[in-house]
Assembly symmetry: C2
Homo-oligomer: 283 residues x 2
């Protein structure tokens, strides 16, 4: 398995693959890999001739008050997991390699980045779309896999790819959960034991809302209230948002008609977790 | 010569070329072609195996108060000029094809887009970089030619390509001028006979400044004053800006050291013309 740290070498590796008419799947990550990532990689391995992943803690998607410096990193462990998952090449650039002095260009998706997580993290998605556009230009993937856990990110990237006519197919992987239901996230490492227990309320609240929909509830405000009350009554849980949105446009919906997405963000101490589920009127 | 109007067909044409390992040069235009464009095309023909051009009057680079609706168009004449210039394929999409309902993604270069033309046209370059990013993703050119007449546009596109790691080489073509020195522009068609005569002051003022530099003048404010006075004393000429900037960063310079660019924008009636020249301390 290769580890490549410069854009130039990565482009050369990509060119070699493309000149043989072979295809690339890219799984972009910020490292500190867990089963959520390795499941994405296993899926990606079957979607193209070559599986590349990127490991880059992208500074432009963190606000100054966020956890960039303390974001968990363990490259040697990540490397071992990649070998196991059949990754052929890790692109692992430095921040200076990706954003050299004088850097000035940003890709921005309007509208759907201003709701949900975009409200409390107003520059976050601009950083995500910018780095993903760069990674796509560098790695020229035919297909790229993103987790549904970051539902808004997935919708924003799909929108960018469609709008800018990028030649990459975006494939979604269902949220990978711990046995007890907690959505896997590198940020779970921040949780103390009590917070870890409290955080189970997220998946439970989502499951409860989905169940109410199957039982006939269609009123989004009642569903939000039911989920919010469960969360608010849990020790240490501070709600950022609990919303129900259209699956593509992410616009708030008043009634569930067919399918909608319940998305939430909740803080436990300084750790902000997100989760979501599709609410379907037919099971 | 092919005329292609949909993104899908254009991508298929590009894929066919790429699968043979052949290269593409793209010359993006807004049509109403003149010798400035056809000179770019002739240059482009020698830079790659295939010469594609785009003809698209891009709505996102016009502000609501600008000349989108009346921008000159003559596709049949353009088509004939393209055949003559050895173009193999014209990409000629509709605005709806490029910006379908729900379109939301923009590429923005910060800093160098906020000076010169960006000051009086604050959304212009965002439209340019967005459409050029789209055209590059659709046509996958190995090389693309831009005219130096739109100096800031050239600098902005170079910055975008470098920042987003796009795999295209940007080649500049020197400004093509009428015999009397007027820089060629589709917007020259708007000029009345008197305005056409007055507009000659632009190239003359630039030549005068360049001459003063060769004679030893280094003070940017004196050079700007000399050029501005020539223009201001010309009937019907209303100065938007006359500036001297660093060739890459477009930051204002106080003294000419090596080389700098004098750039200007001047209105004649409702027609806004731009021109520029490099000021060099050594001829």
């Amino acid at each position: 398995m290769d580890v490549i740290t410069t854009v130039k070498e990565m482009k050369a590796a990509v060119k070699a693959v493309k000149s043989r008419g072979e295809t690339i799947c890219l799984v972009p990550t910020m490292g500190y890999l867990h089963k959520g990532h390795t499941d994405l990689m296993r899926m990606g391995r079957n979607l193209a001739d070559h599986l590349f992943i990127s490991i880059f803690v992208n500074p432009t998607q963190f606000a100054p008050n966020e956890d960039l410096a303390k974001y968990p990193r363990d490259f040697e462990r990540d490397r071992a997991l990649c070998v196991e998952a059949g990754v052929e090449c890790i692109f692992h650039p430095s921040p200076e390699e990706m954003y050299p002095a004088g850097y000035a260009t940003y890709v921005n998706v309007e509208g759907i980045t201003e709701t949900l997580c975009g409200r409390s993290r107003p520059t976050h998605f601009r950083g995500v779309t910018t780095v993903v556009a760069k990674l796509f230009n560098i790695c020229e993937p035919d297909v790229s896999v993103f987790g549904e856990k970051d539902y808004q990110q997935l919708a924003v990237i799909r929108r960018m790819v469609r709008d800018l006519d990028m030649g990459v197919r975006i494939v979604a992987h269902p949220t990978v959960r711990e046995d007890d239901g907690l959505a896997m996230s590198s940020r779970n490492a921040y949780l103390g034991a009590d917070q870890r227990t409290s955080a189970l309320v997220l998946s439970r609240a989502l499951a409860h809302a989905a169940d109410l929909v199957l039982k006939g509830e269609r009123d989004a405000s009642k569903l939000r209230k039911a989920a919010s009350e469960m969360i608010a009554s849990t020790p240490g849980a501070i709600i950022d948002y609990v919303e129900i949105v259209h699956p593509d446009t992410l616009q708030f919906v008043d009634f569930i008609d067919g399918s909608a997405v319940m998305a939430l963000a909740v803080k436990f101490g300084t750790t902000r977790l997100i989760d979501n589920t599709v609410l379907r009127t037919i099971g």
